[in-house]
């Protein structure tokens, strides 16, 4: 019996559209395929229109969204391909495997561009640490990322971790990969021509992860068991072979087009190549190497990992085969590119699928969900928070530093091999992660941010601030941004208030991308992050890639100095809304979000870059979570230095000491550089707030950071 279209995940309207286009009812396999390919995860049907508002072109952009990963130009004929992708749902039910295959998947996206994967980052939004289930998920997720990334030999050089109860049963796992590609060797998925062959290389196809894409497009069911067969197992060793094999084939010029097999496996990879190339494709399911007996639709949709689809000329086949054999990988010609515009799959000589390739791989009709501004609205300004005397300031600081969200993350990143490939210049544990590119002697810097608290306070300003929080440390380290990638992690868009928040968040990202000329080159959307116990906060994650030439070394976020001045640049006052102080010290208090002032950000950027170029500072740190005091404390702990603050030049309200938002930074400046430093910042708010001392962090002589805390945080205890 034919399954009904709703069970396949299609709405009545979508089903009607299919019948209209085909002029007939779809066959069983066709219906299953369309159900998956028209899911949110594969088609972006709820967000396509929204995403089109993001600026995607710019000076450095070689490849914007639309391919497997975006590419930016880093000079001398080299590019960096990068993208972030979510693996939230799989990680919620099988944390180790879900996170591991998330890493594997994003590596193949970058490989599909012809790039060699050179770095990974992971963005993790984890449940509250008091929830044992969440802790077990968190542990499995970190182990999964480590297990896969370490074994595949790509360093995990950074990431972002935060904890909130809203992620207890729906953790977010966003994996990012960066790859190095010669600009004249970029592979595309839109270059197939009729007569060429479709070659599958990698693992055999099994029944794993069938319909995983549809799974990722709905909320987490209460009984996760029902969604269980949808998890895939990753094999990092095969992935390593696959990377080397595909790069070797590519280096011989034998690849016409390439596509990784992620969600919806053979179907999505082959139909997307056909749709983008304006051709058809004919897949013979009998030729697919299988692990077990499978139905044609299962073969079409299996999400077995570690497979790539290559399009090649027939003459190239022999050499491709011998390379794949040498890497001990299964490979097979599974079909050919045709000129009829159809995605066809045959089994036993019979056509089981025959659909317009455009209909399968080119997306489905957009859905426009209604939007409504949440009734609560933006909260009014709370009561002024009053002044903090030094002992109170010390208490607030130590409470904030105790919060898991502000703790250092070595428990996590020590489990990741962040040094393999020997290019990691600034490893995890720093405000930016930097690797060097030997090929053109440059430094590539990466940051990743997500701030659900600010986004839930004001999605526009919060998303903009998230983006800026990723940009500012790059600038302070001396890197100029080239482009960004993002993952829109949100609950169901079908709820009008959620949808409004999603729209406003995207506008916030678009505004910064436009104003600061930081185009969006790739990204991913993960909606329906809800479970019976609730929905997640709006969690758009942003990662920015920047470039620094090798003439000046990157500026570190702390330094061991005997003497020198401490400068605050930017406004004296920050804003408390959605920040660590209001969340931890005064929960329940209402505060406004900060303002986004593009010109101020630009001004800050230019001066920060100049500071590094002129080598005018010994260390610098953009002020972020926990504000000024937290940033200073982290500097002291990290380099084991002391800082003596002078309250006369500081305000003693929490906005100054713990406020966030906006372009603010602290710099350590040796005496001899003071003038140079001040000249870099002339015309921008800048003030000397203290000096480097032996011992701890003091405010008017009061110790803010007891020795035990310093020792403990520095891992000396």
């Amino acid at each position: 019996m034919r399954p009904d279209h709703r069970a396949a995940g299609l709405s009545d309207a979508e089903y009607g559209e299919i019948i209209r286009t085909l002029g007939r009812e779809p066959e069983h396999a066709e219906l299953m395929i369309l159900g998956v390919m028209w899911s949110e995860h594969c088609s972006y049907k709820s967000t396509r229109r929204l995403l089109s508002s993001l600026p995607t072109s710019g000076e450095a952009v070689v490849q914007g969204p639309g391919e497997n990963a975006g590419i930016v130009d880093i000079g001398e004929g080299w590019g960096i391909a990068f993208k972030v992708e979510s693996h939230n749902h799989p990680s919620a039910v099988a944390p180790y495997q879900g996170a591991a295959t998330g890493v594997g998947g994003i590596i193949r996206d970058v490989l599909a561009m012809g790039a060699r994967p050179v770095a990974l980052l992971d963005g993790l939004c984890l449940g509250g640490q008091s929830c044992p289930e969440a802790a077990a998920l968190a542990d499995g997720i970190v182990k999964g990322i480590a297990g896969y990334g370490n074994a595949v030999g790509v360093p995990t050089i950074g990431g972002k971790t935060l904890y909130d109860g809203c992620y207890n049963s729906n953790p977010l796992v966003n994996a990012m990969c960066l790859g190095l590609v010669p600009l004249d060797g970029i592979v595309s998925s839109r270059t197939a021509r009729p007569g060429q062959l479709a070659v599958l290389i990698g693992s055999r196809t099994g029944r794993d992860g069938i319909a995983g894409a549809a799974f990722a497009s709905s909320g987490l069911a209460d009984d996760t068991r029902s969604s269980r067969p949808q998890v895939q197992i990753g094999d990092p060793f095969v992935e390593k072979l696959l990377v080397e094999c595909c790069l070797e084939i590519h280096s011989k010029g034998l690849i016409v087009a390439m596509q990784d097999m992620g969600a919806a496996g053979i179907t999505s990879s082959s139909s997307e190549i056909a749709a983008k190339s304006g051709t058809g494709i004919r897949i013979n399911a009998d030729l697919v190497p299988l692990r077990e007996e499978m139905e044609p639709w299962e073969i079409a949709l299996s999400e077995s990992q570690e497979r790539m689809l290559l399009i090649a000329e027939e003459e190239a086949l022999e050499e491709i085969g011998s390379i794949a054999d040498r890497w001990q990988l299964d490979w097979a010609v599974i079909g050919e590119v045709t000129d009829d515009g159809l995605f066809v799959m045959t089994k036993g000589g019979r056509e089981v699928v025959s659909l317009p390739a455009e209909m399968v791989g080119g997306g489905c009709p957009s859905v426009q969900w209604p939007s409504r501004k949440p009734s609560g609205g933006v909260k009014g300004r709370g009561v002024p928070s009053g002044l903090l005397d030094p002992p109170e300031t010390a208490r607030c600081l130590s409470t904030i530093l105790e919060d898991p969200n502000l703790a250092e993350r070595s428990r996590i990143y020590r489990q990741y091999d962040y040094m393999v490939q020997t290019n990691t210049v600034v490893p995890p544990g720093n405000s930016v992660s930097i690797f060097r590119v030997r090929e053109n002697r440059s430094f590539v810097a990466v940051t990743m941010e997500v701030d659900p608290w600010k986004c839930s306070l004001d999605p526009f300003a919060g998303a903009a601030e998230t983006f800026l929080k990723a940009l500012r440390p790059l600038w302070v380290s001396g890197a100029k941004h080239l482009g960004m990638t993002n993952c829109l992690n949100f609950p169901s868009p079908e709820d009008p208030e959620n949808h409004w928040i999603l729209e406003r968040s995207v506008s916030g990202l678009a505004a910064v991308a436009r104003d600061l000329a930081c185009p969006v080159v790739s990204g991913n959307v993960s909606l329906y992050n809800e479970s019976p116990s609730g929905k997640i906060l709006p969690s758009p994650l942003v990662a920015v890639v920047g470039l620094q030439d090798c003439n000046s070394p990157p500026l570190r976020d702390s330094a061991t100095l005997e003497a020198g001045s401490v400068f605050l640049v930017g406004d004296t006052q920050g804003t408390l809304g959605g920040g660590a102080f209001s969340r931890i010290i005064t929960p329940g208090a209402e505060h406004n979000p900060g303002d986004y002032v593009p010109l101020k950000e630009k001004d800050f950027m230019e001066r920060a870059l100049k500071t590094v170029r002129k080598e005018a500072a010994a260390a610098g740190r953009a002020i972020a979570g926990g504000g000024l005091m937290t940033s200073l404390a982290k500097m002291c702990i990290k380099a084991d230095i002391g800082i003596g603050l002078d309250s006369a030049v500081l305000d003693s309200d929490p906005e100054c000491l713990f406020g966030e938002w906006g372009p603010r930074a602290v710099y350590l400046v040796p005496e001899r550089s003071t003038e140079l430093f001040l000249s870099c910042w002339e015309g921008f708010p800048v003030r000397r707030i203290g000096e480097i001392t032996p011992g701890g962090l003091t405010l008017d002589g009061h110790e803010m950071l007891p020795e035990e805390t310093r020792a403990e945080k520095a891992g000396r205890k």
Partner: protein, 208 residues
């Protein structure tokens, strides 16, 4: 000159001086780390190279492979923390009279990275004692000041063992990565003298 040798080959390049079994997850570390690689076709050639007295160095996974082959005694078990550990640590040079350590001084402390899940050296107690008595431990985890002890041993290895050598003195296995510590840009260059040491040793031995 450095050559990469394919695991399925059965001979080493002519005039090979030093053979390095590098780190990396050979065969995904399935079954036991290093076990499957130890059965690679190239291994017979490595054994032959070692028995001719020429140097063989196993780093990390390479150390694990050497114990699986039997060129070095013992085995490497999971770190006591059961976590993969990637970090800089300190090791003390215990011998300067090996082909690998000639450019160090005995007692010198190196800052050098580790990155492994299975790095806890194991030998039954008596054999361990014998190993120590024969002075076959070449590197030991320690504090920055050179003090050894459990607190300074990241993976739980007994006696802080980080690297050992065979009796003949030409096969060294070590968990820390000297090849990741050759540039201060990447955090340390303390591994560089190891490469210089073997290089001089080979030149001396081959008279070139």
């Amino acid at each position: 000159m450095t050559d990469l040798v394919w695991h399925e080959h059965t001979t080493l390049p002519r005039d090979t001086g030093l053979v390095v079994l590098p780190g990396g997850f050979s065969y995904g570390d399935y079954l036991r780390c290093g076990a499957i690689a130890a059965k690679s076709p190239i291994i017979d050639a490595v054994i032959k190279h070692a028995s001719s007295g020429l140097p063989v160095l196993g780093i990390c996974n390479g150390f694990q492979i050497l114990t699986e082959i039997g060129l070095l005694p013992g085995a490497l078990l999971a770190n006591t923390s059961l976590d993969f550990i990637c970090d800089f640590c300190h090791v003390r040079v215990e011998r300067e009279d090996t082909p690998f350590t000639g450019h160090y001084r005995k007692g010198e402390v190196l800052r050098i990275p580790i990155a492994h899940y299975e790095g806890r050296f194991y030998l039954p107690e008596e054999q361990l004692r014998a190993l120590e008595e024969e002075g076959l431990v070449v590197f030991r985890y320690c504090s920055p000041e050179g003090v050894t002890g459990e607190d300074f041993t990241p993976n739980g290895s007994p006696n802080g063992i980080a690297g050992i050598i065979n009796r003949k003195g030409n096969v060294l296995g070590m968990m820390p990565h000297p090849e990741r510590a050759t540039e201060s840009l990447l955090g340390s260059s303390d591994g560089a003298p190891l490469w210089a040491s073997v290089n001089s040793w080979i030149r001396g031995r081959l008279g070139v």
